[in-house]
């Protein structure tokens, strides 16, 4: 065994750790042993984080698995966000709207996370596609977990059909890339110029826009977020969204960077459409889950806005995009955790998913009300919380390009979004037209497991703390994402570099 074997394993090791976790959970599910869940989860997630850290720090030779996977500080920061989002979602995953045990959804979530990690570590189109499909297939099955609920069955069907539809378009784009360049590696594609690549770019943008849920193709999102059980929705809203955005970002940043003049207007248009229509439609929603679906469409628009600054390719852009992704993850998971504490995770979550449920919550359960206020304000973008800082970074990146109208549109949209986020805060604290203030509500019936409530409160606390912490101390994230570079002095430069694997196919393979 020479050193290259270990090098190549190191790039894949975080994914393998999460897969091992999934398999262990699958085997444990046969024994109905519940108390091992959290220790296992913590152990394996920490291992995965550690190996991802190592992979980003230790320079590996570009042979063997280096042709397929990459491990640099961008991958490290994305893996960190994905793993923490998975950890929080898995803590939320306690009781489903079904009588079966919860093991299957645990297992599928772990596999889905491994697929997401494959996607962000991919340096080859095949690996990107396989990772995307592992993620997608696991999530299609997950969204139908509540088998007794019609809404869940319908949500999983819609998600499946439209998701596979989008995958086929994306795959056609990949096939045309292969046809134009004869190669499947992300970095090599960037060096060629062929008219067929424009066609491929169009198809890929179409496919990814579907998967991310941007404006003209967002129709599946509100239905799926409303229909799937709430533990699954918190996973979809964060992990799938971040992975899809990250993969799109990698494709545009590495492979299609020369075509910037072509895709920048398209991306800018999609971003503005998503922001505007997402915010406008969210104003009319009564169901919290649908409102959060539209808010995720709007936030995808904000993140997409940052892509237009890729041509300048400053290192600040990478860290600001990952910062926004982290912010989005924390806020959304927190909001879903609070929602789950209020509506419960049983079969009544579909009836309780209205604004009316939040009436007077601020006085009845003050800690929960405070946390929800934090999350709503952060989503709206109010300083000094993490949502505001993320938006500030993204806006400042876009201002550096010439597209000022984009920033103006985004600022107007942020103001519009205040309305529906603050409406939740208003309902919680002040008397509204529902007028049930003072009536005692049974909010703890479905969560008859005290341990479950403990998990949920833990998630809410951590999210709230991180929302404040990363908002106030934003350099913490930059330091964290640069940590492998700075700690391991073997790296030549400490700049954030997205190094696709170098292309020397034949020689280093057959050692």
């Amino acid at each position: 065994m020479n050193i290259e074997f270990f090098d190549s394993i190191l790039r894949v090791l975080p994914v393998l750790v999460v897969i091992t976790l999934a398999i262990i959970q699958l085997l444990l599910g046969l024994s109905k042993e519940k108390s091992l869940k959290l220790p296992l989860l913590v152990l394996f997630v920490l291992f995965a984080v550690f190996f991802s850290f190592l992979g980003a720090g230790i320079p590996v030779k570009n042979g063997g698995a280096g042709l397929l996977f990459q491990a640099d500080s961008l991958t490290w920061s994305l893996n960190f966000i994905l793993l923490s989002a998975y950890f929080l979602s898995a803590c939320l995953n306690n009781k489903q709207a079904t009588d079966k045990s919860v093991v299957d959804s645990d297992v599928l979530m772990a596999f889905a996370t491994s697929g997401a990690m494959l996607m962000v570590a991919a340096a080859n189109l095949i690996v990107l596609f396989i990772g995307f499909e592992i993620l997608s297939i696991a999530v299609y099955a997950l969204s139908g977990v509540a088998k007794k609920e019609k809404a869940s069955a319908e949500a999983s069907l819609k998600y499946f059909i439209l998701g596979c539809f989008a995958s086929a378009f994306m795959l056609y784009g990949f096939a045309l890339i292969y046809g134009a360049t004869g190669n499947l590696d992300l970095a090599v594609i960037a060096k060629s110029d062929n008219t067929m690549l424009y066609l491929a770019l169009g198809l890929i943008i179409f496919g990814f826009a579907f998967k991310i849920g941007l404006m003209p193709f967002h129709y599946w999102k509100p239905d799926v977020y409303q229909g799937a059980p709430i533990t699954v929705v918190s996973f979809i809203a964060v992990v799938v969204q971040i992975a899809a955005l990250a993969a799109f970002f990698k494709l545009l940043a590495i492979s299609f960077i020369e075509f910037s003049a072509v895709w920048v207007p398209v991306i800018a248009g999609l971003a503005v459409l998503s922001m505007t229509v997402g915010n406008l439609l969210a104003l009319r929603q009564d169901s919290l889950k649908r409102m959060l679906a539209y808010s995720s469409i709007a936030h995808a628009g904000y993140i997409l806005m940052a892509f237009v600054a890729l041509k300048n390719s400053a290192e600040l852009l990478y860290s600001s995009i990952t910062y926004y992704l982290l912010a989005y993850a924390l806020m959304t998971i927190g909001a879903f955790a609070v929602l789950m504490l209020v509506t419960g995770a049983g079969a009544e979550q579909y009836k309780k998913d209205r604004l009316m449920t939040f009436d007077g919550l601020g006085w009845e359960r003050p800690a929960l009300g405070f946390a929800m206020t934090l999350f709503m304000l952060s989503l709206a973008g109010i300083p000094p919380l993490v949502g505001f800082v993320g938006k500030f970074y993204v806006f400042s990146e876009v201002i550096k390009t010439d597209l000022i109208w984009l920033v103006v549109a985004a600022a107007i949209n942020s103001v519009i979004s205040f309305c529906y986020y603050l409406r939740v805060v208003l309902v919680m604290y002040f008397k509204t037209e529902y007028g049930v203030k003072g009536k005692k509500r049974q909010t703890k019936d479905s969560l008859d497991n005290i341990l479950a409530t403990g998990y949920l409160k833990f998630v809410v606390t951590i999210s709230a703390v991180c929302v404040i912490f990363f908002g106030v101390y934003a350099q913490g994230w930059t330091k964290l994402s640069e940590l492998p570079n700075n700690l391991f002095s073997l790296k030549q430069s400490s700049k954030v570099k997205v190094d696709g694997a170098n292309m020397s196919h034949s020689v280093e393979l057959l050692h």
Binding site: F129, A168, Y178, S287
Partner: protein, 98 residues
Amino acid sequence: MITFYLIIAALLFGIGVLGILVRRNVLVMLMCLELMLNAVNLTLVAFSRLHANLEGQIFVLFVMCVAAAEVVVGLAIIVNLFRNFYTVDVDIANGLKN
């Protein structure tokens, strides 16, 4: 002649897209999905023949496996849907729009 296969594949892809947009039966939509994936496979094999490279065929192999896995999960979802709605008609199973 490669162009001929590419055009056939493009038209097949279009037929699949049309099928998903037009048909109401979920199983037929699944079949049209398979048509789309087959069109992509044909494109990949044609390009692999053009570049005399085997990576296209490897990609086709993986796409076939992915299509099989998708069909498995899709059929399970359809069975679940059928148990809830007693129909496979998409226009009937459309209750989430408020």
